[in-house]
């Protein structure tokens, strides 16, 4: 984290984590224990150090560049960020290449559609 949080920063962060698909259930459970009560997931494909694999189709081998991953998005208060990031890092890590990455963004505003509640109340 940068010093900006101390400088006032946003009070809410969006944590976006790319993980291996089969780790989803474990991560979800670990976050539930931290009190995280909401998240959004989406199927993505990606590559990084892990470079895909070859597939075979009708006698031609070819590179599939993108490997299936899952992206989690968790909006949370700034002060939780470190704990969430640590939990994901711990649980989603297999030590093998392709474990994924976590990206943290500032969030300007959150609105709960049902009630119109704002920001921290809306998390």
């Amino acid at each position: 984290m940068t010093g900006s949080a101390a400088l006032g920063g946003q009070i809410m962060k969006m944590i976006s984590a790319i993980i291996k698909p089969f780790k989803l259930d474990e991560v979800r459970e670990a976050l539930a224990e931290l009190g995280i009560e909401g998240m959004t997931v989406v199927d993505v494909k990606g590559f990084g150090r892990q470079r895909g694999h070859t597939e075979l189709y009708r006698g031609a081998e070819y590179q599939v560049d993108f490997i299936p991953k899952i992206k989690l998005e968790i909006a949370t208060r700034s002060e939780n960020t470190q704990r969430v990031v640590d939990a994901i890092t711990e649980i989603a890590s297999t030590g093998k290449i392709g474990d994924g990455k976590i990206f943290v963004y500032d969030l300007e505003q959150i609105v709960r559609i049902r009630t119109g509640e704002l920001d921290e109340e809306a998390i």
Binding site: P21, F22, L24, D43, H53, E55, L56, Y57, P68, I70
Partner: protein, 409 residues
């Protein structure tokens, strides 16, 4: 003209064998679709590959040695068959073409093997499976088949298994069970504390199509097993078989539907599909002698039993992704033991003896063969392959490469 009448009878019987055989061959597609629908999409190409390859291997092995072992030049009432190759030659007074009989029989052995592929799906190595296919279809099935259908000792004993509740379905299930025990459950199927996690199949329309195909093919399976059509009494018998086969399947589906509704308040489609198949397996031991009402009752018993059996096997941590052991093994046994209710030639004792002999032999023989293959080359794919799916590992291509799937399921 007498000759012509006899020739016509020969032709009609032969045609009936051929049409029945085509219908049974079609069951290979049924199993392929059923299993492809009930596994996860990451293992779908592999299960399709297994299904078409096993059909091809079963046909070839049965041609090369299996048919001969099962039917040609055997001692009546014997245990050990006479080993030989190819299909022998026709008797002078045969009432149908020998080749049509072979054609009909060869597709049965494929059915037995198709049962296995479903139960060991999603974790069994492709090449280990194909090696086992060679042995089951070339040796194990022909030997036990000889005992009853090749005039061996079980037939002399009076064991009745009209179209193969035990000989085909039970045998397939016994071989499957042996494989499953040595193989273990799929990763993620059972939790550390005894939890059972369902692993839903990826494509229920395919599974339903597969069931309809099997239902259709069963008319050849049971109908053809009368082995003679071209006179009045046999024609009536074949018709009764068709009616009973259909009635048992329908009743099985209804029974499973009702049981699901009572137990879980929902209509679990995959259970209904298994219920229909369970009805079919149950009636297969004796589709000719029951009244249609009795056929319905037998179907209902099978269709109810299969639901409980699937749940029970799951509790025993016997992981069978498509329910093959319950459908073909448990209901096959049920069918065999029900025969004496409609067929007075059969007794409960001989039925039990036949059943235990066949299933026991196939189970033990299969266990040994699976065990040898396990030592030789391993039967289970590596953990990483299992997690990422067998399609990429064994086949090199996904079944639905363009579609986005939730991979963690």
């Amino acid at each position: 003209m007498e000759n012509t009448v006899i020739e016509l009878q020969f032709s009609l019987n032969t045609f009936y064998f051929l049409v029945s055989g085509i219908l049974v061959m079609w069951m290979a597609a049924g199993f392929a679709m059923l299993e492809a629908g009930l596994v996860r999409s990451k293992n779908t190409t592999e299960i399709l590959t297994k299904n078409i390859a096993l059909y091809a291997i079963a046909c070839t092995m049965f041609l090369l040695v299996g048919y001969n072992i099962m039917y040609v030049d055997n001692v009546e009432g014997g245990v050990v068959p006479n080993f030989g190759a190819l299909i022998g030659s026709a008797a002078a007074d045969a009432d149908h073409a020998l080749e049509s009989d072979f054609f009909f029989q060869v597709v049965f052995v494929a059915t037995a093997m198709s049962i296995v592929s479903g139960a060991v799906a999603e974790r069994m190595k492709l090449w280990a499976f194909l090696l086992f296919t060679v042995v089951l279809t070339g040796l194990i099935y022909p030997i036990e088949g000889y005992w009853t259908w090749g005039a061996g000792f079980l037939s002399e004993l009076g064991f009745v298994d009209f179209a193969g509740s035990a000989i085909v379905h039970g045998a397939g299930a016994a071989a499957a069970l042996a494989g499953v025990l040595l193989l273990g459950a799929r990763k993620g199927k059972y939790g550390k504390n005894g939890e059972i996690y369902p692993i839903p199949g990826s494509n229920l329309p395919l599974a339903t199509l597969g069931t309809f195909i099997l239902w259709m093919g069963w008319f050849g399976f049971n109908g053809g097993s009368q082995l003679f059509l071209a006179d009045k009494s046999n024609a009536i018998a074949v018709s009764q078989i068709m009616v009973n086969t259909n009635a048992a399947a329908a009743a099985g589906a209804i029974a499973a539907l009702v049981v699901c509704k009572l137990m879980w308040k929902k209509a679990d489609l995959t259970m209904i599909l298994n219920g229909a198949l369970a009805g079919l397996v149950t009636i297969t031991a004796e589709p000719a002698s029951p009244t249609p009402i009795l056929a319905c009752i037998l179907g209902m018993l099978g269709g109810s039993l299969v639901v409980f059996s699937i749940v029970a096997l799951d509790k025993l941590r016997i992981d069978d992704p498509v329910g093959a052991i319950s459908v073909h093994g448990v209901c096959g046994a049920l069918g065999i033991m029900m025969v004496p209710f409609s067929n007075s030639d059969a007794s409960f004792a001989t039925q039990a003896i036949g059943l235990v002999t066949i299933l026991g032999f196939v189970f033990i023989a299969s266990y040994i063969v699976w065990g040898m293959i396990k030592t030789l080359m391993g039967i289970r794919v590596g953990e990483e392959e299992e997690l990422s799916g067998m399609d990429q590992h064994d086949c090199g291509i996904d079944a639905y490469p363009e579609f986005v799937t939730i991979r963690n399921k």
